[in-house]
Amino acid sequence: MSLPLTPSQTVGPYLALGLPWEHGPYAVPEGSAEAIRISGRVLDGAGDPIPDALVETWQSDPEPSERFRGFARCPTDDEGRWFVVTLRPGRVPGPQGASQAPHLDVSVLARGMLNRAVTRIYFADQHEANAVDPVLASAPAERRATLLANLEDDGYRFDIRIQGPDETVFFDV
């Protein structure tokens, strides 16, 4: 049996009523030793912050457990900022026996977006693994850097530009 799907609609401006969780940005408990922090901003086509967006991250590695949810979600603040705290992902299998570089899948939802936008976070310091990642290789070379989180003083930085110059690479999932 094949059933037709339910269409997507926007989260609207009031997503903060229903979606944020206490500790939502923490895929691992606050203060966990091996945790990494990834943060950034969500920006629109004019370069302005999107204050009514939600960023969700998912990773299948390390394997989720009671202490590690694998999933984090964070609404953006008035300056479009978000963050998640998680464990560093490892390499996982990819298509046709390839190995994928460490990455997180990301959903971006916002008022003004009728469906989610999907991207991936890779880590700029994983040169060797990134060089052979089949998904990274499929992104246009000149835009590939938009998929890389860079290590800064307070953790990794990953800005999401929905539109415009330096538009983040988004995927058809």
Binding site: P7, F71, P95, R116
Partner: protein, 234 residues
């Protein structure tokens, strides 16, 4: 390699670039999307069990000292995948305005009353047959700034995580026969009229409870696994 999910038909979801909904103008990617294979990251997803959900979370009428004003309704149905199978133990989150069409949110300033007994957020976990049920008030329509005299048809926001990243969906459930349907650019951003109908709940006299509540039923369908042979095997 894990099996992937069937990819959506073109007309199911609204285009991110839908000019009649003005806020999409600066919030849609202009570059072409890059094909993402369904690898282990996409075919797995968070399992957020019952421990996250309290008994009162699915009853939006009982979250405060008194009962909210408005028309008491039940909203129930099943969460299924595109192959017709129930999606069990899956988190469903909802949010909505009160009966007067006002959200309890600092940005919602239109002059309709707030209800001290209504927060407008709920969640539940589907049972072994994929069923869910909420008790709430029927949300009111409300004006918004998209165009002159713009009003949203009454709706409840639904968020579904399914069982895999590839199944994630956020949508809105509407009520049958709403006179605002022809005028709403968000509803009509779904181009296929049959697909639009799948966002509209149905009224059920049978499920309505005497001297208690009218019932609306709505099934939600997320992508199913692709059960045709993998390309590599052909």
């Amino acid at each position: 390699m894990p099996d992937g999910f069937r990819r959506d038909d073109r007309d199911v979801h609204p285009a991110l670039d839908s000019p009649a909904y003005r806020s999409t103008a600066l919030r849609h990617p202009r570059e072409p999307l890059v094909h993402l294979p369904h690898t282990i990251t996409e075919v797995t997803g968070p399992r957020l069990g019952r421990d996250r959900v309290g008994e009162l979370d699915r009853d939006l009428m009982r979250q405060h000292a008194g009962e909210p004003l408005g028309e008491r309704i039940t909203v129930s149905g099943r969460l299924l995948d595109g192959n017709g199978r129930p999606i069990r133990d899956a988190l469903i989150e909802v949010w909505q305005p009160n009966a007067a069409g006002r959200y309890r949110h600092r940005w919602d300033r239109w002059p309709a009353p707030l209800d001290p007994n209504f927060s407008g957020a709920g969640r539940c976990v589907t049972d072994g047959e994929g069923r869910y049920a909420f008790v709430t008030v029927k949300p009111g329509p409300y004006p918004w700034g998209n165009h002159p005299n713009a009003w949203r048809p009454a709706h409840i926001h639904f968020s579904l995580l399914g069982t895999a990243f590839a199944q994630r969906l956020v949508t809105q459930m509407y009520f049958p026969g709403d006179p605002l349907f022809p005028y709403d650019p968000i509803f009509n951003a779904v181009r296929d009229p049959k697909a639009r109908e799948r966002m509209v709940s149905r009224f059920s006299m049978d499920a309505s409870q005497e001297s208690w509540a009218l019932a609306y039923e709505w099934d939600i369908v997320l992508r199913g696994r692709d059960e045709t042979p993998m390309e590599a095997e052909r």
